[in-house]
């Protein structure tokens, strides 16, 4: 059996169930308790679980993650929240130099199974509050980096992350919390923290994306279908470990690849995917791999300018047409 619930409720269910299942699981972050969470994911949790297990913290991101690392080594299962991914920069030392290194550097003697939940997105929040940093984390061996787009994955991944033995950077998106989707019943519904998924089949072009980008890809695919172009849409779901195989298999069929990402194009996740795909499937490609990404500027506040920065459905459609060599030639004169 399955029910249709929102992405936010999927996260809430995962956290509640894991907290009831295992007393060692606790939450820690800024304004997750009395305030209810900046995105209301933990609303009501303080009342339900008490202040020992739902811990409001000082505004100290490095400390939040660092205490998580220590608590995990000490035998707990911390789920720490960084209010938004923009603030994760202040915790980078604990994440990269500590969390990601503990298991290897000390020769497998102990692990630090911390789940770091954080969220990216935009919405006229200007330059410092509208950034996409998943590539920063996906670069680091030792971290698992998940970016679920649908409620089912949100729940299954979060539960698996809490139960697993590796550190997990769990990236949510502020503009998809209200999206709905089917989630299987049962408190033991967990998903492996790996693997991309083909969510729409098609033979003309492969589009890969994750988080909100996945919905843009799906929207573009539906519109293009009306024009007789069938796109295969892959939800990447997990950035590290990267499932190149699933993308390559699709490209071997479609011979064309478009990557949709909200981050800046240079040095982004899309660059990695393109490189990995050409290493294994160069001969299958009938067109250059294209990336639809953000314009490389600090995010402006004004609505019209912001809209120009982030990818949208039309830009995805344009890219698909381009890899099909169907793009209208640019006018010669203005």
């Amino acid at each position: 059996m399955a029910r249709e619930i929102t992405y936010r409720d999927a996260l809430r269910e995962a956290l509640r169930e894991e907290m009831y299942r295992d007393e060692r699981v606790f939450l820690m972050g800024e304004d997750i308790g009395a305030y209810g969470g900046s995105y209301a994911v933990t609303r009501g949790f303080l009342q339900e679980f008490g202040p020992e297990r739902v811990r409001d913290t000082p505004i100290a991101e490095l400390g939040i993650v660092g205490l998580g690392v220590g608590a995990a080594i000490g035998g707990l299962r911390p789920v720490v929240e960084l209010m938004t991914i923009n603030f994760s920069l202040l915790a980078m030392d604990q994440i990269v130099n500590h969390l990601a290194k503990i298991y290897y550097m000390f020769n497998g003697q102990f692990t630090a199974p911390v789940v770091v939940r954080t969220v990216e997105g935009f919405g006229q929040l200007a330059a410092t509050h509208s950034q996409f940093f998943e590539n920063y984390f996906a670069y680091v061996p030792g971290l698992r980096v998940v970016a679920p787009a649908v409620p089912k994955d949100a729940k299954g991944f979060l539960k698996a992350a809490v139960r697993g033995n590796d550190p997990v950077i769990f990236i949510e998106h502020s503009l998809i919390y209200r999206n709905r989707g089917e989630v299987p019943d049962g408190e033991d519904f967990v998903l492996p923290l790996e693997g991309a998924e083909v969510r729409r089949e098609g033979q003309d072009v492969t589009i890969v994306s994750w988080l909100r980008g996945y919905y843009l890809a799906l929207g573009a695919a539906e519109e293009l279908a009306r024009a007789g172009i069938e796109c295969e849409v892959i939800d990447l779901r997990v950035l590290r470990p990267l499932d190149v195989e699933t993308i390559v298999r699709s490209v071997q069929k479609t011979n064309r690849l478009v990557i949709v990402e909200e981050g800046w194009k240079s040095f982004g996740v899309g660059a990695e995917i393109a490189a990995a795909v050409q290493e294994r499937a160069l001969d299958y490609l009938d067109a250059p791999i294209l990336r639809v990404a953000s314009v490389e500027v600090p995010m402006p506040y004004a609505r019209n300018l912001e809209r120009l920065v982030v990818p949208n459905k039309d830009r995805v459609i344009e890219a698909v047409r381009e890899v099909l060599y169907q793009r209208l030639p640019a006018p010669l004169t203005r």
């Binding site: 811990r55 000082p58 490095l62 660092g66 220590g70 080594i73 020769n107 497998g108």
Partner: protein, 337 residues
């Protein structure tokens, strides 16, 4: 002067066996490191090697005061703590040699000793990075209703870093059982305390968080032991964190590459000659007839042999197996590629 109770120092409750063990451990640390420096010069050890020579009383006094169940995290100047904990000098030396038999299989080297079985959760090489981790260990202890104290070892330099202040605030705010033990050896690399810290005494920084704090003579192993005991009792009784500053001095350079342009030879000599922790305990033991010269000489000889054996062991040990290179990146399986 004569001792009041046979086999004891005046005013010190420790039995002779414990005093001799403290002596032996300090000599072991010193000899281990002197030999490590020689092996470094021979090219057997590479990378960073931060010696602890001169500071031995801090590690020995602190570790001997701890319960076996207490948590320990240290900075990269960690050999002294590992040896004081009783870890095998052979495996310590093998780690410096980068061998498979090392404490962490040759993956960490000098800066990343660890032994989970002793709750020694590692040496950390990012200045101040271990402090929030120590607070987290304290949180785990409290959450699980354990009586363990998390002991954090760090330098004077670390107190100027944001991580230090975040960790102290967390520990005080949540009344976590954490002992912050600062080794003030007067320098962070080549920068003397007065050029890096607005406050010259490290323990005074704790007052911003209402954490009780004191300074102790880090060259006096018994003073460090007693202060640590009191501090641990405070933490263990549910009173929250404690801050201890041990005034000490490193005789050698910051690491093996240090040109030592920032201090005078006279200054170093002054500490070596008049404030050496081993000489001090040795003289106390002899003056008060706690031990004889022969007894101490026997301990010295045993240490000498143990260190020679450690080098032999490290030398003969195999390199890490290249097949293990990618082991321990993840604890759970990965199947995608």
């Amino acid at each position: 002067m004569t001792s009041t109770v046979d086999g004891q120092l005046p005013g010190v409750a420790l039995p002779k066996s414990e005093l001799l063990e403290m002596y032996r451990l300090m000599v072991l640390i010193r000899r281990f490191e002197e030999v490590a420096a020689e092996q470094y010069a021979l090219g057997k050890i590479a990378g960073f090697l931060h010696l602890y020579i001169g500071e031995e009383a801090v590690a020995v006094g602190a570790i001997r005061a701890m319960d076996p169940e207490d948590h320990l995290v240290t900075h990269y100047r960690d050999h002294g703590y590992a040896l004081a904990l009783g870890l095998d000098p052979r495996r310590c030396m093998a780690e410096l040699f980068g061998k498979a038999t090392g404490l962490v299989g040759g993956r960490g080297g000098s800066m990343h000793f660890a032994d989970a079985s002793k709750h020694f959760w590692g040496g950390y090489a990012i200045v101040a990075g271990l402090l929030p981790i120590a607070a987290g260990l304290g949180l785990a202890s409290k959450y699980l209703n354990q009586r363990r104290v998390a002991v954090a070892i760090f330098g004077d330099g670390a107190t100027n870093n944001g991580a230090f202040h975040e960790a102290l605030n967390f520990a005080a705010l949540w009344k976590l059982p954490v002992l912050f033990l600062c080794e003030n050896n007067q320098y962070g690399m080549g920068t003397a305390v007065q050029y890096a810290s607005a406050v010259r005494e490290m323990y005074r920084k704790a007052c911003a968080y209402d954490i009780p704090a004191e300074q102790v003579d880090g060259q006096d192993v018994i003073a460090v032991y007693e202060a640590t005991k009191r501090a641990l009792d405070h933490c263990r009784s549910g009173n929250g964190p404690y801050f201890l500053e041990a005034l000490t001095y490193r005789y050698r350079g910051h690491s093996m590459a240090d040109p030592e342009t920032y201090r005078s030879k006279e200054e170093v000599e002054e500490w070596r000659r008049h404030r050496d922790p081993i000489t001090r305990l040795r003289e106390q033991l002899l003056t008060h007839n706690v031990a004889t010269i022969e007894e101490l000489a026997a301990l010295d000889r045993a240490v000498e042999e143990a260190v020679a054996e450690a080098v032999r062991f490290a030398d003969e040990s195999p390199d890490p197996d290249p097949a293990t290179l990618t082991q321990f990146v993840y604890a759970d399986p990965i199947t995608v590629s």
